[in-house]
């Protein structure tokens, strides 16, 4: 048995990417993917807390059925802005732009992404989009819902639709450039010996994510651009008064926005694959199935957007095609869940904070994914669409899935990123608080949804109050839980224990360099001679049960 400690890790040098240069300018003009990842980390956290404040306002308003805390116009702006900020400025860039940016070059043994300048540019574009959007919020807000349905958004809304749309349009290019950078990097920059099937699954899922980014984002960009021009000039492709078709907008919008859900969840799945394998010291069960399921999700994810239009006067036959494909896209996700679970069999599981998040993710994602089947199922969706059931479902995917994955990944790689350890006890405690708070917030919404409570309601019939009170109680616990990591991460940057190069004793390439890494990641370009998650040498591989020759080592 090869003890993992014996991996050759260079003696820690005093120089690393953080202290290689000093001064604000060295950060704002950096081309180092790790520094850019930190720029993203800061700005994403900022937007996350803005979105979080909106979330708490929504929950407070819904505590009572009357709609007495906020006026309806304010409430409409609050939930719209919660959606816009959380989706476009937090969830979509969250894992790819921070963890992906930081780790993709390190995991493939490269010195940087293929286009470092474009990488920096994409951060500036992100910030520009963010500033324009914040301007829209401060100037008076947007009240169209994050879905911008026409003709409400083009003709009837009296809010800052164009400014918010422009912010999202600009931000889209940041997403496109990030995706482009990842794809080219993974294709051309892999270190010698790093074949596709030796790559950590984190890379496969980011590759799939990038595909969606480059293929889907331009469509939403042109859609929003047309919407903005339509609003400014009073003509329109989406305006029924001129013979235009509002349903065309919905098609174009969801052509991106449904796959965008996979932009948010796929990277989290990649993180979970890393966590499950590494914290159980086990190679992933069915590596190639998990890898290809990411690609399958990326492709099939583009074929299902019509399930958002089951009640929107879409053709019944198109509805059936989309429903069928929506069920089909559930299969690759199921494959992942089963393989993660199977990986734990006869493994060695540690209870460190990242693993707690990973276990929480698998449970919550299972609920989120299974409730997706309700919405793919035509007849049930007719009853459930635009109710709180939908809200609960996508929060199970977005918060229970994407956010849990993000937090788990952040804890896992924090020693590498910052060179410090986070406080383990607090980490476990907050993971638990977040898990409890989250479930209390969103589980009651499934019931309220089936009972018929429509979403985006500012006031509601009193029989739904009990569910909303539970939800609000949960949200306050969740909000409290979120503050704990925010505090201890900042605290640990100064006072945390110094991290070793490989604090978790893992075989991945990113752990075979010092913490925090050098600007060029590795002193010499590594030559990869091992498989992904190779804790023990290949000849030790157990052949389970009596699986015949079809069982192959991947």
């Amino acid at each position: 048995m090869q003890p993992i400690e014996s991996f050759e890790v260079p003696a820690p040098s005093k120089v690393n990417y953080i202290n290689a240069q000093y001064g604000l300018k060295s950060w704002l003009l950096t081309k180092d993917h790790k520094r850019i990842a930190l720029l993203y980390l800061g700005s994403i956290t900022f937007f996350f807390f803005i979105g979080g404040i909106y979330a708490l306002m929504i929950r407070l308003e819904l505590l009572t059925p009357q709609g007495d805390l906020l006026q309806s116009t304010t409430y409409n702006k609050v939930f719209t802005q919660h959606g816009i900020i959380m989706i476009f400025f937090f969830l979509i860039p969250s894992i790819p732009a921070t963890l992906g940016n930081f780790l993709i070059p390190m995991m493939i043994g490269a010195k940087d992404l293929a286009f470092p300048r474009i990488n920096l540019l994409s951060w500036y574009i992100y910030m520009l989009g963010g500033i324009v959007t914040i301007y829209a919020l401060l100037a008076g807000g947007v009240d169209t819902g994050w879905t911008f349905y026409t003709p409400f958004s083009t003709t009837f809304s009296n809010s800052y639709v164009v400014a918010a749309g422009l912010g999202i349009f600009i931000n889209g290019f940041s997403s496109i450039l990030t995706g482009l950078n990842f794809i080219v990097t993974i294709h051309t920059m892999r270190a010698p010996g790093m074949t596709w099937f030796r790559m950590p699954l984190f890379l496969w899922s980011h590759y799939a994510t990038s595909l969606i980014m480059i293929l889907g984002t331009p469509v939403i960009a042109i859609t929003i651009l047309l919407l903005a021009f339509e609003r400014l000039s009073g003509v329109g492709i989406f305006n029924p008064a001129l013979g235009g078709d509002p349903v065309l907008f919905q098609h174009l919008f969801w052509f991106y926005s449904h796959p965008a859900v996979y932009i948010m969840i796929l990277p989290a799945m990649g993180v979970i694959s890393e966590l499950v394998a590494n914290f159980s010291r086990k190679n992933i069960f069915g590596y190639s199935f998990v890898a290809f399921s990411s690609l399958a999700i990326a492709v099939f994810g583009f074929l299902v957007w019509g399930h958002h239009l089951f009640v929107a006067s879409q053709s019944v036959y198109a509805g059936m095609i989309f429903s069928f494909l929506s069920f089909a896209v559930a299969i690759p996700s199921a494959i992942k869940v089963f393989n993660w679970t199977a990986t734990l069999y006869k493994s060695s599981i540690s209870y460190d904070t990242p693993m707690l998040y990973a276990l929480g993710f698998i449970g919550l994602f299972t609920i989120g994914g299974m409730t997706g089947l309700f919405l793919a199922s035509l007849a049930v969706d007719v009853h459930l669409s635009d109710t709180y059931f939908v809200v609960a479902h996508f929060h199970y995917i977005m918060v229970g899935g994407a956010l849990m994955g993000y937090l788990g990944g952040l804890h896992y790689w924090w020693p590498k990123i910052s060179g410090r350890m986070y406080p383990e006890g607090w980490g476990r405690f907050s993971a638990l608080v977040i898990f409890v708070g989250f479930n209390l917030t969103f589980l009651p919404q499934f019931v309220a949804g089936y009972l018929g409570m429509p979403r985006r309601y500012h006031a509601y019939p009193p029989e739904f109050q009990v569910f909303n009170v539970l939800s609000t109680a949960g949200a306050s616990i969740l909000g409290f839980g979120m503050l704990i990591p925010a505090i201890y991460f900042v605290w640990s940057m100064r006072y945390g224990k110094h991290a070793e190069a490989n604090p978790w004793h893992l075989p991945g390439l990113e752990w075979r360099t010092q913490s925090p890494p050098l600007t060029e990641n590795f002193e010499v370009t590594p030559i990869v001679t091992w498989e992904a998650y190779e804790f023990a040498p290949p000849e030790e591989t157990e052949v389970v049960g009596k699986f015949g020759p079809e069982l192959e080592r991947i």
Partner: protein, 99 residues
Amino acid sequence: MSEHIVSVRVYFAIFLALLVGTALTVVAAFVDFPWRFNTIVALTIASIKATLVVLYFMHVRYSPRLVWVIVASALFWMGILFAFTFSDYLTRGWLSIGY
């Protein structure tokens, strides 16, 4: 791996073909074909011209397979966008909302 250098003669041939195609499509536009053949002819000529540009001016013919895959996937996704959206519009009349 060194790249393939396309000769000037090939470029010139493609260039002429493109010009001929342009003339042809203008002429064809004024002929009244039956059914929807005007659209089909115009789009066929445009597709041929585009293919020539992609294969020769953009060197795809001499490029690694990855580039082929990229071009093919671009067309595939355009196909998805069109096919699935039209799957809605073209089947709307099948189940009449009336009677």
